[in-house]
Symmetry: C2
Subunit: 405 residues, 2 copies
């Protein structure tokens, strides 16, 4: 018994049957004595269809009008879902972003939530109404419609849970939780019962598509308990919260692979102070995020710097470096896109210095070469050849989760 | 130069090409130095598609949720049209019903406009922005979305024109004006340059589908000059206004046919006082509108009463009359659905008593039998056999508009 926010993504409400399925989950939660707030995305391909319609009229429409257009998708979902719940005989009301007072800044297409005025929702909950809210959308101070960008509906759900002090924010999706590795590829991968916010954030950064970082960051900041679960399986999912009990016999929660990455090497840098500062401040000015950095001292007063960026930033990075080649002073730029980043994540590794060594040992035994290494308090990442990537994940996963295989 | 409200119906914005056509009309009006407010309906079949989607989930959805769903159709139209106008390089902004402060009562599905808060529109017009407003929708005092029912977008347009003191409210549709008779059926039918509000109201009541009565009534009350014209032909349309110059050589503006009508006859009523009162108050209580009434004195202290109702009300009318047969005291009920009402409309006929006689003469010469007659200050209606209907319209039209045939 409590206040539960449930978020369902576009695939969970893609057609009438799926909406009825979602309505069953919602009314079951309500029947268990909970107050229920539901956040919905647009149905299936609705958003893509609307973007295509816009493209017929304007190759570069203003973001304000695009948000006005796209916000209709979620409004349709909530009305249809409310109708399905009405048909089951429950009290229900749908509310748009502006009706629930989801106030954002004016960054159309990627707006940030500033606050949520909760009076309307509270009034409906007091009447024991199930409240269905349009995700992904808000309204700025001029009362213009905004959308929240990628992962927007998850963020809407967490913002509502935070503002209303919900006991739990359930994110229903098409996977049934967070796994120790991609279960479609890695033998022995298993679902986690729990994961901490920090671990989830690292996993999300490392290419796990389960939750968007913005929502996890917000949940962490406002102490919102989350759960990731499937709207189809009916099984318990993975809880995301502040402190979790350790996974049995393991100091890590997962092994992740990121192939959207490229390595850039600056070769033959003159060995002067301030070179690294010059290189990385140049990239920062162009808003290019750099991940792993490796600096090697070469022979005869020259050195090399290697670093990784996302594949989308490769060309921009190369261009700016070539442009400033003389000012920086280097011999050549080498780019390799055939690399993958393999990472282990776990709060437990802070107190267990052997974890990184175990990871390197597993790769050594499998004859996989490590290009670069990066560590944080709860993560160890290595760069390997992309052809070795899946094998690398498997042997590392075997090493840490062998007993569950 | 002035403030012009332009309303485009669903067929005028049904696809990208049609939206571009509408955008041309709008920007042309803007280029002529006018402030322009545009009111749009939902695209083509959007509303029907949404109703079908709702039907999959709930055979009788609440009107509140239906309005929430349907209002998305107009919101999509306005965003898309704004994008088309942006692409032409004009300043433009789309606004929903709630954003323009279209305040209504809470009769979901058929809400009445209570007032329009015009600040936002005025602010945008002051910036020389073209303002695109979602028709058909408003918001009640709880900030819930409402829709205005049939003819709603026309009514939105007139309400905005009235509130902002517009110089003209243009209703663009798929016909290019108001005709003296249905131009697809009647030889010699011609477009009127002007028509008065009262004449337009009579014609609308008589089955002319050009404008919905609610919008004409509102335009009359608030002295809004209207014009009906085609978004495709580019030709001048028909002006609807308070006082019009007479159509040359004719005292009438049009001949209309209404086949959505049935005649009910109560035969063998005892000739007591208060019989008519009893019959028609019974029907009024069931909200059955009665149109033409004919009372005939029969032989031997009995009489008959005939009257017309719309076809949709026939069963309800017969049921209530049969239920009260003894209380009223009559012999039998006869119903005929094979009838049509043919009417002539025109302010000029008040001062020209020969007009009705001319109409009857035309029918007599064509050997068409008149069942019932009803007259008002600006209208004469006759009931004829449905098989004679089109011929009746033609001969009456020939009589009054022969010189233009």
């Amino acid at each position: 018994m409590g206040l539960i926010v449930q978020k369902f993504g576009g695939s969970s409400v893609a057609n009438a049957d799926k909406i009825r399925n979602v309505a069953k989950i919602i009314t079951k939660t309500y029947d268990d004595g909970n107050d229920v707030i539901v956040v919905l995305s647009a149905q299936g391909d609705t958003t893509d269809d609307l973007i295509a319609k816009a493209g017929e009229l304007n190759s570069k429409p203003s973001k304000r009008e695009m948000d006005m257009l796209l916000a209709t998708g979620e409004q349709q979902s909530i009305a249809l879902c409310a109708m399905a719940i009405e048909a089951m005989g429950y009290p229900v009301i749908s509310l748009t972003g502006w009706q629930v007072g989801m106030k954002t800044n004016s960054s159309y297409g990627g707006a940030r939530i500033k606050r949520v005025d909760c009076e309307r929702i509270r009034a409906e909950l007091d009447k024991r109404c199930i409240v269905i809210v349009a995700g992904f959308q808000g309204v700025n101070k001029r009362d213009d419609v905004t959308t929240l960008g990628r992962g927007g509906s998850d963020t809407s759900a967490v913002a509502l849970a935070a503002s209303l002090g919900a006991d739990l924010c359930q994110i229903y999706t098409d996977v049934d939780g967070v796994y120790t590795a991609d279960p479609r590829k890695i033998k022995g991968a298993r679902k986690l019962e729990e994961i901490s916010f920090d671990e989830m954030l690292e996993l999300a950064c490392l290419g796990s598509q389960v939750l968007h970082n913005r929502s996890v960051e917000m949940a962490k900041r406002y102490h919102v308990n989350m759960e990731v679960l499937s709207s189809f399986s009916g099984l318990p999912g993975t809880k995301v919260k502040e402190v979790v009990k350790p996974v049995e016999n393991s100091h890590i929660v997962g092994v992740a692979k990121d192939t959207d990455i490229a390595r850039i090497a600056l070769v033959g840098l003159s060995d002067r102070p301030g070179i690294a500062f010059r290189v990385f401040s140049l990239l920062a000015k162009r808003k290019i995020n750099v991940d792993i950095i490796l600096q090697s001292i070469g022979r005869e007063e020259s050195k090399d710097i290697s670093f990784t960026v996302s594949k989308a930033d490769v060309d921009a990075a190369r261009d700016i470096l070539e442009e400033y080649k003389e000012a920086i002073g280097f011999h050549s730029v080498h780019v390799s896109e055939d690399v993958a980043k393999i990472s282990i994540v776990g709060s437990g590794m802070i107190n267990n210095p052997g974890v990184a060594a175990d990871m390197f040992g597993a790769l050594y035994n499998a004859n996989i070469n490590i290009n670069m290494i990066s560590t944080s308090e709860i993560k160890v990442s290595v760069l390997v050849d992309i052809r070795d990537a899946d094998h690398a994940v498997q042997v590392i996963h075997d090493k840490f989760f062998a007993e569950f295989g």
